[in-house]
Symmetry: C2
Subunit: 311 residues, 2 copies
């Protein structure tokens, strides 16, 4: 069971060995064995040290979110159990054919998701889009790539095509990339990607993988390359679709408060939407966890890996 | 600045962007930039979600301790910055001469600390101890070892000699190793080692090293081998000395409450004691951090490594 706590004046403590969540109106008691995660989504919540100790003993992740829904921090035992073997395979794979295979999957997943998103937009509005079919051709060329470098070039080409296609529907110019650029859709996308990043981080963190050792993106002590890699498969499905639906507004170079609220709500809705991938119908959020797990199993030679693509 | 919070009814929150620690009697305000760590050492302390967010933004570690002073958990951003290069060197070193060199240091450090502890006991009581000189000879043989296996054997031989020597002073039989064995000194040592382990964990965690990839101890997903490795250099200096000083009592197979309190207090005193190693006079606790950092720098070819030994 996962619990989200939102609201001022909530206190999380322990009563007779049971987790007690109470506010002025009432109390909810949950046996610790039934809890996997408590997410604290607002200010004005207090947690007791006894609860934190109990959470640690029972493997309950206590997550604190920022006001935009992105991850602020997590409380847990200092060293989570770790299987060093997985990380060793991951580092080896960076230099063998498995690494380039995964990098191709991430790029192919992204481009195909761009293709399907553009296709659905053009269908709904009865427009035929050249960019859409171009994207499909680019996606097919991913197979021929033999290096990270080529993949990054092909990704850039696809991105250009995608945003050209999108600009037929929305007033957007992806060349203006700064967060503070007064382009509401752009700002909303970057806002959304930071929320998605938290989700992908939690997923990668639930495995034994090293989040900083990537296959498509270069290593950087400040950027978890593998998280950024895996994000590629989910950008369009989780964030772009949500942002285009909301059609956000900005004021004086900032997204309006309403726009931010709507984006968070819409992304949350997307994450909770059940979709079918690999023959399993599950909330999109779960598929993120499964993809991270599949990277791990692929590196151990236990499972095939396919990029997450939704029509 | 590090703050330890101990006592019921303490609330840690945020007021005007400043950390506020208050109880019924008063309030202490600390700018977040001045704080590096808050350790919560008792039950009955509450922290607000706003404080946790502030801590995360400002890189303040929020640590929760168990009643015995060992680490329960830590709150912080999910992914600490990581230098993958260090871990890659660490894994490589497991199979080259650097690994066996470090393993030798850990064993040599432990045996020499056993030697000096035994020597000081025998001097104080004007007893001459054969075991003491045997230990020195064993320590000299460490140099000749060429495998982990040999080192583990030599460590066992030294341990036997050490405990035989110690038993001249204290009623102890290290063959009875179970935690619940009604041997007060034995129980106290194991109790103390669990506290030391938390300290070494924090030290290793402050580096880019993988705590689960060791050089002396074998890999195990449930035991951080590198932490157990580095602990060897500090067991006698931090725990054994403290326990022998306290001379703890047990009752019905448990350490008495007073004994536990005294052990925690004495270990804390040891950790705070300034000692000179590598030409630096610092609290023993800091030397643990420095040794972890030195393993990292040694693996990167930037510094020599010497075991932590105190006369």
């Amino acid at each position: 069971m996962k619990v989200v706590i939102n609201g001022y004046g909530v206190f999380v403590g322990v009563k007779n060995g049971v987790v007690s969540i109470r506010n002025g109106e009432g109390e909810k008691q949950i046996p610790p064995g039934n809890l996997r995660q408590i997410a604290i989504a607002s200010g004005g919540v207090a947690v007791s040290s006894s609860f934190l100790r109990l959470a640690s003993e029972n493997g309950i992740d206590v997550i604190v979110l920022n006001s935009n829904g992105s991850l602020s921090g997590i409380f847990r035992p200092i060293l989570k159990k770790a299987n060093v073997k997985v990380r060793k395979e991951q580092y080896k794979a960076q230099n063998d054919e498995r690494g380039i295979f995964l990098a191709k999957c991430f790029v192919k997943g992204k481009i195909m998701n761009q293709y399907y998103l553009l296709k659905s937009l053009s269908k709904n509005r009865k427009q035929k889009l050249d960019e859409c079919y171009e994207l499909k051709i680019i996606a097919e060329n991913v197979e021929k790539c033999t290096s990270q470098q080529e993949l990054i070039q092909i990704e850039a080409k696809a991105a250009e095509m995608y945003w050209r296609g999108i600009s037929n529907f929305y007033d957007i110019d992806r060349r203006r990339k700064r967060y503070d650029d007064p382009d509401a859709i752009n700002m909303a996308l970057n806002y959304g990607y930071s929320i998605l990043m938290s989700q992908v981080m939690l997923a990668v963190d639930s495995t034994n993988l090293d989040p900083f050792a990537g296959f498509l993106h270069n290593e950087n002590p400040r950027r978890p390359a593998l998280v950024v890699d895996l994000m590629e498969e989910f950008r369009q499905q989780v964030v772009d679709r949500a942002v285009f639906k909301v059609n956000p507004e900005e004021k004086n170079g900032f997204l309006t408060k309403d726009a931010r609220k709507e984006i968070i709500a819409e992304i949350k809705r997307r994450l909770e939407t059940k979709v079918t991938f690999n023959n399993r119908k599950l909330p999109l959020e779960y598929h993120i966890y499964l993809q991270a797990r599949r990277i791990e199993r692929f590196l151990l030679g236990k499972e095939k890996y396919n990029p997450f693509i939704l029509r």
